[in-house]
């Protein structure tokens, strides 16, 4: 059993990650059925509290909850004009008073899910907080790599892009390292964190150095609306230096896979044909996202269920 909340990968033990991944493996099968629904979380209420716009992660959590028969409510304060004056904690406490069995929180600022978890009765799952962590994304990425490679131990993973501002990068760095993989990061120096050594990674400033002999290449989305000018001079230059195509991918191992948390800026982080075809596993990531989130919801909100009922 994992802890009460799921706030960060940094806080998880290797055994807990293992447990979540094993549970998710079993959940994958449910998605392949004609009737994609089990009664595991019947009568449980799950609230998706998304302060930051999201379609992919929100849909994934919603489908995961519904496949487990939970009642899923989406609450997006940003869409409501009334919410401006309401504090984050007030919003969270209000929802908590409705006795949900789990609250899934996304916010544009690091630390908000933790602060909410500090005051809530219900367990909290971090669905992405600022540039801090996005634990379920990292877990679904690890699940995908595990399915491809049969193991995580001993692999080498390169994460390419705006590492400083990426919660996906932080969670994956912690996760893959805990599972015994080596992680390299690469991007323009303006996008690399000031102290990469505290994350236990090797920082590279050329794609070639980063990709040399790796098993997994993970490209991150460039948030060009936010950082243009501050971190890189132009999309054209970024695509030329850190954009992946089949030619550059030859630096990696022959059987290397390509991942991306989506949505892809085609022709920027990934060349068009690399986005759609192997070795890219982007749609497997999305598919695994549902199973992984089912596993997390089961482990966190279904703790009074009879073990194995989902199976």
């Amino acid at each position: 059993m994992i802890g009460r909340d799921l706030l960060s990968i940094e806080d998880l033990e290797r055994e807990e990650i293992q447990k979540i991944l094993e549970t998710a493996e079993k959940m994958c099968e449910i998605g392949r059925r004609d009737v994609k629904k089990v009664p595991t979380l019947r009568g449980r209420t799950i609230i998706n509290l998304f302060f930051e716009p999201s379609t992919r992660t929100l849909s994934s959590f919603e489908i995961a909850g519904k496949r487990l028969s939970a009642d899923v409510i989406n609450f997006s304060p940003e869409n409501s004009s009334l919410s401006k004056a309401e504090s984050i904690l007030d919003t969270a406490k209000t929802l908590d008073a409705m006795d949900p069995d789990a609250v899934i929180v996304r916010h544009a600022v690091a630390g908000v899910p933790k602060r909410i978890a500090d005051v809530l009765k219900a367990p909290v799952v971090n669905a992405g907080d600022g540039a801090h962590e996005h634990p379920t994304q990292a877990l679904l990425d690890m699940l995908t790599v595990y399915q491809e490679k049969g193991q995580l131990e001993g692999l080498t993973v390169a994460i390419i892009g705006d590492i400083t501002h990426s919660r996906v990068a932080r969670s994956n760095i912690h996760g893959f390292r805990k599972m015994g993989a080596e992680v390299r990061i690469a991007g323009p120096p303006t996008m690399l964190p000031p102290n990469p050594e505290v994350l236990g990674v090797k920082a590279c400033t050329t794609l070639r150095e980063a990709l040399d002999g790796v098993d997994v290449v993970m490209a991150l989305r460039i948030q060009n609306e936010r950082f243009r000018g501050a971190c890189f001079p132009s999309i054209r230059e970024y695509a030329a230096t850190f954009g992946l195509d089949r030619a550059k991918l030859r630096y990696a191992k022959d059987d290397a896979i390509v991942m991306h948390p989506g949505p892809v800026n085609r022709g920027v982080e990934l060349a068009h044909d690399l986005t759609d075809h192997r070795p890219s596993v982007i749609l497997d990531q999305v598919r695994n996202g549902v199973a992984l989130r089912m596993a997390v919801l089961y482990l966190i909100a279904g703790h009074q269920s009879e073990a194995g009922r989902f199976a």
């Binding site: 690091a110 600022g130 962590e133 932080r170 000031p194 102290n195």
Partner: protein, 431 residues
């Protein structure tokens, strides 16, 4: 004639380098004598055995929020927090609403202070109108109205030409210009110290270089102009070094450090508690050690609280939106006593940095137990343990990283002009 004898304490008077057992005789609100075994018939006696007796503290950097933000603090509540923390006098920053950039605002603050304050209030006026960093304030008129120094604290004067003019012009009124030195272009929205902690937290980092750059600029401008520069809340090792070198060169610079920069590091922000957010931010252990050494060696002159009250609802937001600043007046003494306990500074020297040296920089009375001086005195128990409960403090706000923690060292009593205005058993005695 009213006479009070404070007897049996360990008297610490930095102004005369005196540290020893003695009695203090107060007559009509002024110090009459400090010597052993004073006997005066009919005098009220305050037993100070087991305590330190020192000039009351003077804080040259606090935010009392009046006028305009009385929901956070006002002159009454802020000055009560001050005397409860051992301060007989505080200098309040100009970032009120309206800004203290006009003599009418200075007049208002002083009039309200006369009516409601438990401590002596020294307004610091803005250096530029509206704290906009563009047009100098009427320093002469503000000085005449009672301003003791000039500062755009909270903001940085980014235009070096304006900063030069402010320094040049300040020579005319012979008051310090207090700078909040941060290159805002480099800070670029950073909310915690840039380094391993910001990397782990995923919060935007504020590099200490942003402070170093502006301290360096202002030191060169002080050298160029010959004006008196005071660097507020020094927090980086680089800034300490720059100030040390400038002093050796003869630049007229003084500096302050806060209790939190002396005793906390950016590690305190690991739980995303917005009561660990301040500007400049809590920095690395290396920076903290440099600040402590700087204070002990005299590179940094004084301790100032940067008491910055914010309402609970303002701090109960995300880390980026939360306003920077924490309470400081009621916890300053026990927090900085850490330096005495670790043998980094002597009790006498610590007292100097909390009172005597502050009075010298601001050129205000106090900071001495010399005959004829106002009897602004603090009685301190360096060993007393107590738990700080911000909700029960005198400030209207509660934003303290020390809330609920055990403190070692307690203010036993504070006297202003010979009157006991605070006693640890009876609370603030001014109504």
């Amino acid at each position: 004639m009213s006479r009070v004898i404070i007897s049996g304490g360990r008297v610490l008077d930095p102004s005369r380098d005196f540290d020893g057992e003695a009695d203090v005789l107060i007559e009509d609100g002024r110090i009459e004598a400090v010597e052993a075994g004073i006997e005066v018939r009919g005098a009220e006696r305050i037993d100070a055995s087991g305590t330190w007796v020192a000039p009351a503290f003077i804080d040259m950097h606090c935010h009392l929020r009046e006028p305009g933000q009385e929901y956070k603090e006002d002159l009454a509540s802020g000055s009560r927090a001050a005397v409860a923390g051992g301060f007989s006098a505080v200098a309040c920053m100009a970032n009120t609403d309206p800004v203290n950039d006009d003599p009418s605002v200075t007049d208002y603050i002083l009039a309200r202070a006369r009516e409601h304050a438990a401590a002596k209030i020294y307004p610091i006026a803005a250096a530029t109108r509206g704290l906009l960093g563009e047009v100098m304030t009427e320093m002469s008129a503000l000085r005449d109205a009672g301003a003791v120094a000039f500062s755009d604290d909270g903001k940085t004067i980014m235009d070096s030409g304006v900063m030069r003019s402010v320094l040049e012009y300040s020579k005319m009124v012979d008051a310090s210009v207090i700078v909040h030195a941060e290159d805002l272009c480099l800070v670029r929205g950073g909310v915690v110290n840039e380094g391993p902690i910001s990397t782990r937290l995923g919060l935007p980092g504020n590099p200490s270089t942003a402070e170093d750059i502006h301290v360096a600029r202002d030191l060169r401008l002080a050298a160029l102009t010959g004006a008196r520069l005071h660097v507020a809340h020094v927090s980086s090792a680089g800034a300490v070094d720059l100030i040390r070198r400038a002093r050796e060169e003869g630049v007229r610079v003084t500096a302050e450090v806060t209790p939190h920069h002396l005793c906390l590091t950016d590690e305190a922000a690991m739980g995303y508690d917005t009561n660990t957010k301040m500007a400049p931010p809590l920095r690395s252990a290396v920076d903290r050690e440099a600040c402590r050494r700087g204070l002990c060696e005299g590179v940094i002159d004084v301790i100032a609280t940067d008491h910055a009250p914010h309402a609970v609802h303002e701090k109960e937001v995300d880390f980026i939106e939360a306003p920077p600043g924490i309470l400081g007046l009621e916890t300053a003494f026990p927090v900085v006593m850490d330096l005495v306990r670790k043998d980094e500074i002597s009790p006498l020297e610590l007292m100097r940095r909390l009172s005597t040296r502050v009075a010298e920089i601001l050129r205000v009375p106090g900071g001495t137990l010399a005959k004829g001086a106002p009897a602004d005195i603090v009685l301190l128990d360096p060993e007393r343990r107590w738990v700080y409960d911000a909700a029960k403090g005198y400030s209207k706000s509660r934003n303290s990283p020390w809330d609920g923690q055990e403190m070692i060292g307690r203010v036993i009593a504070t006297l202003v002009d010979g009157a006991v205005v605070y006693h640890s058993d009876r609370g603030v005695l001014v109504h």
